[in-house]
C-alpha cells in the first residue's frame, strides 16, 4: 500500500486528502485553491483504500452513502406501492385473493396480485430491501466513524496557513500585538464554553464535538430496532392468539400453556348521548349512534399447580377487571386486548319432539350450541339422537357443511326414536327448514325458542421483542437529537509575523456560527472571519458550499 507524504514531512495513509498533521491539502486536492472538503476530516476510509478481496468489494458497495440513499428510495417507492390497494392482511377478503383483487379492481388489480403486491410487506424482496438498509447502516457507519474518531482525537493545533485559507470562514489582519490577542481570544472563547488549546502561538477552540457522533448513535438505535423486529420470528418471543368467550363462559387463555383462565361475565357496547356533552348534539344527529365504549367484564384465574394432568384444574382467582379498547388486561408478559365482539348469537335452541298428526308433544330438548350432547333421553322410550351438527350451515358441493365453528346458522340431523318407530326416523332441521331425507315421517322436531348471548373477541398477545424495539427507538431518537440540535464548531487562530489569521468550521448552521463569532470578538481587534463560501459562490454558481457529515 502506498502512503502519501505531505510537504511537512508527515506520512499519511493512502486516501487521505488533508494532511493529518498540518492540514495542508494532499493529493489531487493540493492543485487547486477551492475550499477544502472537510467531510470526515479528509481521512482515509477503508472503502477507499482496499479493494482486493470479495469482502472488500461488498464492503465498498455498502459503504457508499449513495447506495444507502438508493436503498432508502427503493424502500420508499415499494412502501408507497403497497398502499394502492388494501393489503391482503388488512382487507377482510371474502374471496380468495387471486379472485378478489381482479373482481374488485379489474385488470390492474389482477396485475397487482400477480406481482405479489397484495402481500408486499412480507414479500422476500421487501424484507431483503430492509435488511440491505440495515447492512448499509452498519458498514457506512463503521467505515466513517472509526477514522473520524481517530482524526478528531489526534488533531493537531497548529495548522498550515493554506489549510486556514481554504476554510469557508477565514480572515487575516495585520495587528501589532498578536500574542496578546491570542491570549485574549483564548479567554473570550473559554467564556463561551469553547475548549481551547494553545500550541506555539496557534489556537484551536472547539465546541460540540459530541454532535458528530449523532448519526452513528442513531444508526446503532436503528440496528437494535431491526434486530428486535427480527426476533419476533424466534419461537417464544411472540404469541398472537384469538380468544372468543361468550358471556358466562370460562375458557383457557391460549398461548399461556394452560396457565391462565378467563371468565367473561358481560360484554357491553355503550353509545353516546347528548347527556355526555351538549356539544355532541350536531354530530349525533348527523351520524346517528356513535359508539362510546366496548367493554368486557372479566375475571382472570390462574390454574393451580397441584392440578393432576388430565383433570380439570383448580382455578385461583387473580383479579376482576374491565377490558376496554385502549385499556388491555396485562398479566405476566401477556396482554388481552378488546378486539371484536358478536352480539345476540344463538347460544342454545329448544325443540320439541312432536307427533305431526295430533300435534302432541313428548318432551323438549335444549341443545347447547357450543357443546351439544349426542343423545337426549325424553323418557318413556322417547329418545333423540343428534347425528350431525352444522353450526354455520351451508350446502357445499351438494352436501351439508359448516362455514365456521360459530353457530351463525345452526342445522341438525336428528334420529327420533319412539315407541311406534323403534328403528328411528331421520329429520334434518335448519332455521325455517325441516327436511325428511328418508321419506315421510310421523314425528318432527318443532322449534320452540332460542337463547341469545354476547361474545367478546379478545386478542392474546405476548411480545418480548418490545423492550428491545423500545430501546432501539430511544437510542435512535437520542442520536438524531444529538446530531440535529447541536453542531460541532471549531475556530483556528494563528499568529505569524504580526499577522493574525482566523478560520472557522462548523458541520452545520453557519449563520448561527457567524453570529456567535461576531458576539465573542465584538469590540476587539481580532478579525471577524468572512464567509468565503458565499463569495466563492457568487463567482462560480456551480460550486456549492459543503457541509461535513458526522
Amino acid at each position: 500500500m502506498k502512503n502519501v507524504k505531505c510537504e511537512c514531512g508527515h506520512v499519511n495513509p493512502l486516501g487521505t486528502v488533508i494532511c493529518e498533521s498540518c492540514g495542508r491539502a494532499v493529493g489531487e486536492n493540493s492543485k487547486t485553491n477551492d475550499l477544502l472538503d472537510m467531510r470526515y476530516e479528509g481521512t482515509a476510509r477503508r472503502s477507499q483504500v482496499r479493494n482486493q478481496t470479495i469482502i472488500d468489494k461488498i464492503w465498498n458497495f455498502f459503504s457508499s452513502v449513495k447506495v444507502g440513499v438508493v436503498l432508502i428510495v427503493l424502500a420508499l417507492i415499494a412502501s408507497a406501492i403497497g398502499t394502492i390497494f388494501p393489503q391482503e392482511m388488512n382487507a377482510n377478503l371474502d374471496k380468495p385473493a387471486n379472485i378478489y383483487y381482479e373482481e374488485k379492481y379489474g385488470w390492474f388489480g389482477k396485475i397487482y396480485y400477480l406481482l405479489g403486491f397484495h402481500d408486499l410487506y412480507s414479500s422476500w424482496w421487501y424484507i431483503l430491501l430492509v435488511a440491505s438498509i440495515g447492512v448499509s447502516l452498519v458498514i457506512c457507519s463503521l467505515d466513517r466513524a472509526v477514522p473520524l474518531y481517530k482524526a478528531l482525537k489526534k488533531q493537531r493545533v497548529p495548522k498550515h496557513i493554506s489549510f486556514m485559507k481554504r476554510q469557508r470562514f477565514f480572515n487575516q489582519k495585520t495587528v501589532g500585538n498578536t500574542e496578546k490577542l491570542v491570549v485574549l481570544a483564548e479567554e473570550l472563547l473559554k467564556k463561551s464554553r469553547y475548549k481551547v488549546i494553545l500550541d506555539h502561538g496557534s489556537l484551536l477552540a472547539e465546541k460540540g464535538r459530541f454532535s458528530r457522533w449523532g448519526p452513528y448513535v442513531n444508526h446503532i438505535g436503528l440496528i437494535i430496532f431491526l434486530i428486535g423486529v427480527m426476533l419476533r420470528f424466534v419461537p417464544g418471543f411472540y404469541v398472537n392468539e384469538q380468544l372468543w368467550v361468550k358471556e358466562g363462559e370460562t375458557k383457557v387463555i391460549p398461548g399461556t400453556d394452560m396457565q391462565y383462565y378467563l371468565t367473561n361475565h358481560k360484554f357491553l357496547v355503550e353509545y353516546y348521548s347528548e347527556e355526555d356533552n351538549e356539544a355532541y348534539k350536531n354530530a349525533l344527529e348527523q351520524k346517528g349512534a356513535i359508539v362510546k365504549n366496548f367493554q368486557s367484564n372479566v375475571t382472570l384465574y390462574k390454574a393451580s399447580e397441584k392440578t393432576l394432568p388430565g383433570k380439570n384444574p383448580e382455578l385461583i382467582k387473580i383479579k376482576d377487571d374491565e377490558i376496554r379498547v385502549n385499556k388491555p388486561l396485562t398479566v405476566d408478559s401477556f396482554s388481552l386486548f378488546q378486539a371484536s365482539y358478536k352480539l345476540n348469537e344463538i347460544s342454545s335452541m329448544t325443540l320439541a319432539l312432536t307427533k305431526k298428526e295430533t300435534g302432541e308433544e313428548f318432551g323438549e330438548i335444549t341443545i347447547d350450541l357450543t357443546n351439544p350432547k349426542d343423545v337426549y333421553d325424553l323418557g318413556n322410550g322417547y329418545l333423540v339422537y343428534l347425528m350431525s351438527y352444522f353450526p354455520d350451515f351451508v350446502i357445499k358441493n351438494g352436501e351439508p357443511a359448516t362455514n365456521s365453528p360459530f353457530p351463525n346458522n345452526p342445522a341438525f340431523a336428528f334420529k327420533m326414536v319412539t315407541p311406534d318407530k323403534p328403528e328411528g326416523e331421520i329429520s334434518f332441521v335448519a332455521i325455517q327448514q325441516n327436511l325428511e331425507p328418508m321419506g315421510e315421517n310421523q314425528y318432527k322436531m318443532a322449534f320452540k325458542n332460542a337463547d341469545f348471548v354476547n361474545y367478546t373477541g379478545l386478542i392474546v398477545r405476548k411480545d418480548l421483542t418490545l423492550p428491545i424495539i423500545a430501546i432501539g427507538g430511544a437510542i435512535f431518537l437520542i442520536g438524531v437529537a444529538q446530531g440535529s440540535f447541536w453542531q460541532h464548531r471549531r475556530i483556528w487562530i494563528k499568529e505569524d509575523n504580526g499577522d493574525l489569521f482566523i478560520a472557522g468550521h462548523t458541520n452545520k448552521n453557519w449563520y448561527g456560527f457567524m453570529r456567535e463569532i461576531e458576539k465573542i470578538f465584538a469590540g476587539t481587534e481580532i478579525p471577524i472571519p468572512k464567509d468565503q463560501g458565499l463569495e466563492k459562490e457568487k463567482k462560480d454558481t456551480t460550486n456549492q458550499g459543503v457541509d461535513s457529515v458526522g
Binding site: S79, T83, P86, A279, A339, K508, Y511, G512, L534
Partner: protein
C-alpha cells in the same frame, strides 16, 4: 364556548391577513450571513410579526376553548387536525423568525396558512365524540407531536419555494420554470376548491342523486356542487337541478371526482387570469419580492427546519404512533396506509439528509426536495385520509 372558539379562529384569520400587508411592506430588508450590522429591521416588519403573534395567540384561544367544549383535545377530525396543523405551521414560522429574523418567510408562510385554515373549514365543524379506539391520552400526544413536526418541516418547504422563485432563471421557459408553475398551480387549485365550495355553501346548493354501484345496488349522494361528473346510472331526486354532464363508471367515486374537477377548473381560471393580465409567469411575478434575499440563508433555513422537524416528526409520527397502536390495536405496526405514508415521509427526509450530507445536494436541489417533502406530507394529510380507506379515515 363553541361559538367563542370559532370567533377566535375567525379573528386569527383576519389578523394573519393584516399581518401579510405589513410583512409585505418590509421586504426590502436585506439579510445574509455577511449582513451589515448597522442595518435596522424595518418597523413594518416588526408590526407584521406582532400581529402574526397576536393571530397565533388567538388561534391558541380557539384551540383551548374548543378543547374545553369538546372534553378532548380538538385533533380528532379533519377540520380539527388541519386547523391544528395551521397553528403549528405558524408556530414554526415564529420560531424561525426568532432564529433568523427573516420577514419574507412570513410573507410566504401566512398566505399558505390562510389557505390551510380555509381548506380545513370546508369540512364539518361539528364536535364529534371519540370512538373507543380514539379514547386515549395518546390521541393528544401522538397527533399534536405529528402536527408540530409537520409544521416545522413545512417551513423548509416555504424556504425552498422562496429559494426556487429567487434562483430560477425566469427569462425563458425551462423544465424548472414549468415545475415551479406546477407547484404554484397546485396552490391555486386549493384556492379554487375553497372559493367554489364556499360559494355553493353560501347559496345552500344541494342536489340529491341516486345511482347504481358496482354490486348493482342503488346508492345515494348529496352533491353540494353542481354535478359536472355524475355517478353511474344517475337519477336526479331534486327538482330544478342541473343534470350531470358526464357519467362516470361505478368504480370511481363520482362525487369526489366532481369536487376535484371543479377545484381544478376554478384554479385554472384564476391562474390563467393572472397569466393573461400580467403576461408573466407567476414565479416571475413573485421574483422581485425576494430578490434581496441571501440564498445561502434560505438554504440554511430550509435545512435547519428539516433538522429540527425530522426528530419531532419521528417521535410523533412513528414512535408515539407505535406506542399507541400497540395499546389500541395490540400491534405496534399494522401497515395501515396512513402509517405507511408516515414511513414514506420519514424515508424521504432521511434520504434528503443523506443526500445533503454526503452528495452535496445543497441550494437548488435541496430546495426542490424540500418542496417535494411537503408534497408528501400534504398527500398523506389529504389524499390518504379521503381516498385510501384505512383505520385513519375519520373525515
Amino acid at each position: 364556548m363553541v361559538e367563542l372558539s370559532s370567533n377566535f379562529l375567525h379573528t386569527s384569520f383576519i389578523l394573519y391577513l393584516i399581518a401579510i400587508v405589513f410583512l409585505g411592506g418590509a421586504i426590502k430588508q436585506k439579510k445574509g450571513i455577511n449582513r451589515n450590522k448597522d442595518e435596522k429591521a424595518p418597523i413594518a416588519g416588526k408590526i407584521g410579526i406582532c400581529i402574526t403573534i397576536a393571530g397565533f395567540i388567538s388561534q391558541l384561544g380557539y384551540f383551548i376553548t374548543r378543547w374545553i367544549a369538546a372534553g378532548h383535545a380538538p385533533v380528532s377530525n379533519m377540520f380539527e387536525f388541519v386547523t391544528f396543523f395551521s397553528i403549528m405551521f405558524v408556530a414554526g414560522f415564529i420560531l424561525f423568525y426568532f432564529l433568523y429574523r427573516s420577514v419574507v418567510l412570513g410573507l410566504f408562510t401566512l398566505p399558505i396558512v390562510l389557505l390551510i385554515i380555509a381548506y380545513g373549514s370546508m369540512f364539518t365543524k361539528d364536535i364529534t365524540p371519540l370512538i373507543p379506539s380514539l379514547r386515549s391520552e395518546w390521541l393528544t400526544i401522538h397527533v399534536m407531536t405529528v402536527a408540530a413536526g409537520e409544521g416545522i418541516l413545512a417551513i423548509s418547504f416555504v424556504a425552498g419555494l422562496i429559494y426556487l422563485i429567487k434562483n430560477i432563471d425566469h427569462s425563458k421557459r425551462t423544465k424548472k420554470t414549468v415545475w415551479l408553475e406546477v407547484i404554484i398551480f397546485g396552490i391555486t387549485t386549493v384556492l379554487g376548491f375553497v372559493i367554489i365550495t364556499s360559494i355553493f355553501a353560501m347559496t345552500g346548493y344541494k342536489s340529491e342523486i341516486n345511482w347504481v354501484n358496482k354490486e348493482g345496488q342503488v346508492e345515494h349522494y348529496q352533491y353540494k356542487l353542481p354535478p359536472l361528473l355524475g355517478p353511474n346510472e344517475w337519477e336526479l331526486q331534486t327538482e330544478n337541478r342541473m343534470e350531470p354532464l358526464i357519467e362516470l363508471p361505478a368504480i370511481i367515486d363520482a362525487q369526489k371526482a366532481n369536487t376535484v374537477v371543479w377545484s381544478f377548473l376554478i384554479g385554472n381560471v384564476l391562474y390563467l387570469l393572472v397569466r393573461l393580465i400580467t403576461r408573466k409567469r407567476v414565479g416571475q411575478l413573485l421574483q422581485p419580492l425576494v430578490k434581496n434575499l441571501d440564498k445561502d440563508l434560505l438554504d440554511e433555513i430550509s435545512y435547519r427546519s428539516v433538522l429540527i422537524g425530522f426528530p419531532v416528526f419521528t417521535l410523533g409520527g412513528l414512535i408515539f404512533a407505535m406506542i399507541w397502536a400497540h395499546i389500541a390495536w395490540s400491534r405496534f405496526w399494522a401497515w395501515d396506509p396512513k402509517e405507511v405514508w408516515a414511513l414514506v415521509t420519514w424515508f424521504f427526509y432521511a434520504a434528503f439528509l443523506h443526500l445533503r450530507l454526503s452528495s452535496g445536494w445543497h441550494g437548488e436541489k435541496s430546495a426542490w426536495l424540500a418542496v417535494i417533502g411537503f408534497g408528501i406530507i400534504m398527500f398523506n394529510l389529504i389524499f390518504v385520509n379521503l381516498i385510501i380507506a384505512g383505520m385513519h379515515s375519520y373525515a
